[in-house]
């Protein structure tokens, strides 16, 4: 749906704006999570292709977003009841990305207008949607703020203003660091060119993040053959327990 809206919108962009286009590449289109995975860095680079000379004003800016797969969430708030802190109110979030990074050439408020943000869902807050707010939660916005705060503290939601370098209004590059606690799935990379707060051109790419090797094997087995997986875990435990006591007895003799 969003893609359809984006396509529709691209057709209606003023003719002048169409003169600048993004040509971009990614340093890698897939990330493999292996046993020693401790995060990854992807380089997003590209150039601005234009037919005529670039206008001087307003300034050209670049926004790069990387968005992990979305899942529904519940945000709960603790309250003091009978002397102890318990989870009381809860708000359902219908979809929130597991990872979201925004890299820009400048302060986001200056280079992106509110209406454009609403249309493209660029800022972290607009990428998260809340529905099904339970009856007793009057302050849903504070729950959303809490979600953004917690995920930012976990390094899942990142806003990096000024990290994208743009040289001579043509070449740009952004280094996006992916943390170690990645969720599997397709990561959506979006690149926006803006002038005076308006989006001039947008481009979308995707990066596949997948567990490989042992990680893949263990994960799929746990999902597809849970009984066998459980039995294997037990065998491992019994074997280790028996092995240790035998080994130590031999050492003592």
């Amino acid at each position: 749906m969003i893609r359809a809206a984006l396509a529709l919108w691209l057709l209606t962009v003023p003719a002048m704006a169409q003169e600048e286009r993004i040509v971009a590449g990614l340093s890698q289109t897939s990330v493999a999570i292996t046993a020693d995975f401790s995060g990854s860095e992807i380089l997003i680079y590209g150039a601005v292709k234009r037919e005529a000379a670039a206008p001087d004003e307003p300034k050209l800016e670049v926004i790069v977003t990387v968005e992990g797969p979305s899942t529904p969430l519940v945000v709960r708030k603790k309250e003091r009841r009978a002397g102890i802190w318990v989870n009381a109110e809860a708000v359902n979030i219908s979809r929130a990305p597991s990872f979201y990074a925004i890299h820009t050439t400048g302060p986001l408020d200056d280079i992106l207008s509110n209406t454009e943000n609403l249309r493209q869902r660029i800022t972290i807050a607009s990428a998260v949607r809340a529905v099904g707010i339970s009856d007793d939660a009057e302050e849903a916005p504070s729950f959303l703020d809490a979600l953004l705060r917690i995920r930012a503290a976990e390094g899942r939601y990142i806003l990096n203003e000024g990290q994208v370098t743009l040289s001579e209004d043509t070449l740009f590059r952004a280094d996006v660091e992916l943390p170690a606690n990645l969720t599997e799935g397709d990561y959506r990379v979006r690149i926006f060119l803006t002038r005076g707060g308006m989006v001039v051109d947008a481009l979308e790419r995707s990066i596949g993040v997948q567990k490989t090797g042992m990680e893949r094997l263990i994960f799929t087995m746990a999902q597809d053959k849970p009984l066998l997986y459980g039995l294997l875990s037990l065998l491992l435990a019994v074997g280790a327990g028996w092995g240790a006591s035998t080994a130590f007895r031999l050492v003592r003799l």
Binding site: S38, V74, K78, A146, I150, N181, A222, L227, W242, A244
Partner: protein, 306 residues
């Protein structure tokens, strides 16, 4: 060395996990308990999701219990018949616990329930153990201490369905052991613990079993209850992390053997006082978390589409 855990989906230092397993194993070897009551809260602390910590904790207890039972079997200190009866109750309790765990997870109250269970049981057992061991220490210091009678007849000896337990030298009803087993099974499923810290005092004070068979028998039945719990968690919620378990087990079994060596050199009363203090310390830490205002009032959990 960072290691990505396939089920927990977090990256942790492998040596940290080995060390954690080692320390807990050391304590469990020294005191003859499974150590689940320490490992599960510690896993929460290093950022493992609670559901994975509980399920994987149970798997780790299987390993340490196997190691312990093998040592006890050589001393003929396992009452298999009693273990079997406890086990029958344990399965019932564990099944019920898994069901309640799923129910509470959906309601968002599983953390609270687990914490309350920890505070209640650790506090109770710790206080009882401390009081008892202090008293026996005082008694041992006096010259002519009164000798404890070997057969004290309590209300538990008047129930029907009596059975002979030769290794324990008991002739009692099967109902009390089954109830103790069920309680421990329930706790194993919810708290990710083996329940030795409940089982051992219950066997001594409630069932009147001789101390020499208590640890072996309790470990024997804990193997099966935690094995069952691990399996149930693996099947119902896929939260057993094999890699995490393997590291904890490796550290744990080595620590347990070293702990057992140290434990032999200490007096039984001193050991019990130390264990009681340890139990109370863990209890106090969890109780404080419940009573003090948390720095972050909000928490994020997985949701379902409305």
């Amino acid at each position: 060395m960072q290691l990505y855990l396939p089920i927990a989906e977090v990256s942790v230092n492998a040596f940290l996990l080995l060390g954690l397993g080692g320390i807990v194993g050391f304590l469990s070897g020294m005191f003859g308990v499974g150590g689940g009551f320490l490992i599960t809260p510690l896993l929460f602390f290093i950022g493992i999701p609670p559901a994975v910590a509980v399920a994987t904790g149970a798997n780790q207890v299987v390993a340490s219990s196997v190691s312990g039972v093998l040592a006890q079997m050589k001393r003929k200190a396992v009452d298999f018949r009693m273990g079997g009866v406890l086990l029958a109750g344990g399965m019932l309790g564990s099944g019920l616990g898994i069901w309640v765990f799923a129910l509470l997870t959906a309601a968002g109250q599983v953390d609270l329930f687990v914490q309350l269970a920890y505070v209640l049981f650790l506090g109770l057992v710790g206080a009882l153990m401390l009081q008892e061991s202090l008293r026996s220490l005082r008694r041992a210091n006096r010259a002519n201490a009164p000798i404890r009678r070997s057969h004290v007849h309590l209300w538990v000896h008047k129930l029907p369905l009596k059975m002979k337990f030769r290794a324990s030298g008991l002739y009692i009803s099967v109902l009390p052991p089954m109830m103790v087993g069920a309680l421990v099974g329930f706790l194993a499923a919810i708290m990710g613990v083996g329940g030795g810290f409940i089982m051992v005092p219950a066997m001594i004070y409630l069932l009147g079993m001789p101390t020499k068979v208590v640890i072996g028998t309790s470990l024997f039945q804990i193997i099966f209850v935690t094995a069952f719990t691990t399996l149930m968690h693996a099947v119902t919620s896929q939260t057993v992390d094999m890699v995490l378990a393997l590291l904890l087990i490796l550290g744990g079994v080595i620590g347990a053997q070293m702990g057992a060596r140290v434990g032999v050199r200490l007096k039984a009363e001193q050991l019990r006082i130390l264990l009681a203090l340890l139990v109370l310390a863990v209890c106090g830490k969890i109780a404080l978390d419940l009573l003090l205002r948390p720095s972050e009032l909000y928490s994020v959990g997985p949701g379902v589409l409305p």
